[in-house]
């Protein structure tokens, strides 16, 4: 039951002549990946709208289908049949290519995330580095979209988005570094393998259940929210501030592609968070091992998506300078502290002293930095262009 998809794929691949078997195997993985995550994207759009609506004390979409769950179908039909307007002064080639340059790397990033036992699309020796490399390539797509529209708001939104993405990439990679340090390998399959086993038959060996892992997980999630331009970090695409920022001039299917790219980016980085910190496809308790591994992965993924939707509906949007101060003056020192703590965790002798020292090492700087940031000692609002 656990390996049902793997055996099904092996059976399909064996039907093809031996020369083209690797190609067909990869094509089947890619097709499965795209199909699953596009369906998950459709489900997430309606879940998000209903979730946000309930947080805001109203119903969400409830006309199309039972309780509104066929809304993505209506949205899809609308975006396909909408007229594709391109401004006459826009740069036609770059304007056309920008959504593609956004969507392709985020699907590539999904290839190294293991979704079940033996269910990673590719097993790369430097899997985590590959993930961050293709994540960095999406920034170029944002710039292409913003610049090619020949629209001042669009360009401003793109500049802000790139500044935000570059700033939050550093804490993201540093907090992932703690896990790589602890496991000793950049391969995602090795990282999931290192979180197997249960301490005392009850508690899993997940990285989130250690002091440095917990702090690094929170830093990773915050940086991931900012990387995917999700609220509360969605100033570059805020509807009330800058009229949807760098994808103002996109209509119809290209807009849907941007939307798809953002959501799949969110899934990819949640998948990496699950792989690095939440034990991948492992079950939380040894008594629940009979549930297949991919069910656990997607359950954790849905839990993280619910967390993202919850945070979006609850917190107000951050201003640009608040965003920058938060990244450079809070998250970066915090992630450096987690790196040091992860190192200390590895070399201290086992026992409660290790827990105590590492917890203090994480909580102390956190409280100090939070106090400094909120009291305005290290971050003041500056009106640079209004002076």
């Amino acid at each position: 039951m656990d390996q049902i998809f793997v055996t099904f794929k092996h059976m399909l691949v064996s039907l093809v002549p031996a020369g083209s078997q690797p190609v067909v195997s990869d094509l089947l993985s890619v097709a499965a990946l795209i199909g699953t995550f596009a369906a998950l994207f459709a489900l997430t759009t309606v879940l998000e709208r209903k979730g946000l609506a309930r947080i805001q004390n109203r119903y969400g979409p409830n006309r199309v289908g039972l309780y509104g769950f066929l809304q993505p179908l209506a949205d899809g039909l609308k975006t396909i049949t909408k007229e594709d307007l391109v401004p006459r002064s826009a740069d036609q080639v770059v304007h056309f290519l920008a959504p593609l340059v956004l969507v392709v790397p985020v699907f590539l990033a999904l290839a190294v995330v293991p979704m079940g036992r033996n269910m990673a699309a590719v097993d790369l020796d430097a899997g985590v580095l590959f993930f961050f490399a293709v994540g960095a390539a999406t920034e170029l797509a944002v710039f292409m979209a913003g610049w090619s529209s020949r629209n001042k708001y669009s360009l401003l939104g793109a500049m802000r988005a790139i500044a935000q993405m570059i700033s939050y990439e550093v804490p993201l990679i540093l907090s992932a570094l703690t896990v790589v340090m602890s496991v000793g390998s950049l391969s995602t399959l090795d990282i999931v393998q290192a979180q197997a086993g249960y301490a005392g038959g009850v508690a899993p060996h997940w990285h989130v259940l250690t002091p440095w892992g917990f702090a690094a997980f929170i830093v990773f999630l915050i940086a991931a929210t900012a990387e995917s331009n999700r609220s509360p970090f969605d100033l570059p695409e805020g509807e009330s501030e800058i009229i949807a920022g760098y994808y103002i001039e996109y209509s119809g299917f290209k807009f849907a592609l941007f939307f798809l790219g953002e959501y799949i980016g969110m899934f990819a980085v949640s998948g990496l968070a699950i792989t690095l910190f939440l034990g991948g496809w492992h079950a939380p308790l040894p008594g629940l091992l009979w549930i297949p591994s991919y069910v656990w992965f997607f359950a954790k993924l849905l839990a993280l998506i619910a967390l993202f939707i919850w945070v979006r509906g609850t917190l107000p949007r951050l201003r640009m300078d608040q965003l920058m101060h938060f990244a450079w003056k809070f998250l970066l020192p915090m992630s450096l502290v987690t790196v040091v703590t992860a190192g200390m965790w590895r070399f201290l002798p086992l026992g409660w002293a290790r827990w105590a020292i590492c917890s203090i090492l994480v909580l102390g700087p956190f409280l100090l930095l939070a106090r400094l940031l909120s009291s305005g000692k290290i971050a003041k609002r500056s009106y640079r262009y209004a002076d």
Partner: protein
């Protein structure tokens, strides 16, 4: 010389030529990013996974963005027709061909090319890390110092521009 290598070489050469020859500077920067991507593909073709991904992360994710920011913030979007091509291009072409011919002749007649090299052992990231931390640790630390100096220097330069108002 497999077809894939030929295709990659063509992509790199074509995008590099486009990066020089296109009129719109941002198009040039984007064509340069394509050549970076082609170079990363060549690294992967040579089984150097770490270097290939680091190429994408550093060059496309940071250097290309730096280039486009520089183009945008210095305000020069379009070049006039004929800019970038000097009048003495024929002499330049002759000199380039002469240098290429000399280098190619020297390399092809060198005795180093005749020796049979055994195929290199496949290196993993762990081997790279081991070497960096034992044999090459001094260059690594010096590089770190250099990058820190560059970072501090850039901040100092920007701070000075907004000096006492």
């Amino acid at each position: 010389m497999t077809p894939l290598f030929g295709l990659l070489g063509f992509i790199i050469a074509a995008s590099a030529v486009a990066a020089v020859a296109l009129r719109n500077l941002v198009h040039c920067a984007l064509a340069l990013s394509v050549s970076f991507a082609g170079l990363a593909a060549i690294y992967l073709f040579l089984n150097a996974q770490f270097v290939g991904f680091a190429q994408i992360l550093v060059y496309i994710g940071a250097v290309a963005i730096l280039i486009v920011f520089a183009i945008l913030l210095t305000g020069r979007g379009e070049l006039e027709r004929g800019a970038g091509f000097s009048a003495g291009w024929m002499i330049g072409l002759g000199v380039a061909l002469a240098v290429f011919g000399t280098l190619a002749g020297l390399l092809l007649s060198s005795h180093l090319l005749v020796r049979e090299m055994p195929p290199p052992a496949p290196t993993s990231v762990r081997d790279l890390g081991d070497q960096l931390m034992t044999h090459w640790v001094l260059p690594l630390e010096v590089l770190g110092l250099l990058l820190t100096a560059a970072l501090i220097g850039s901040v100092v330069i920007v701070m000075k521009e907004r000096g006492p108002r």
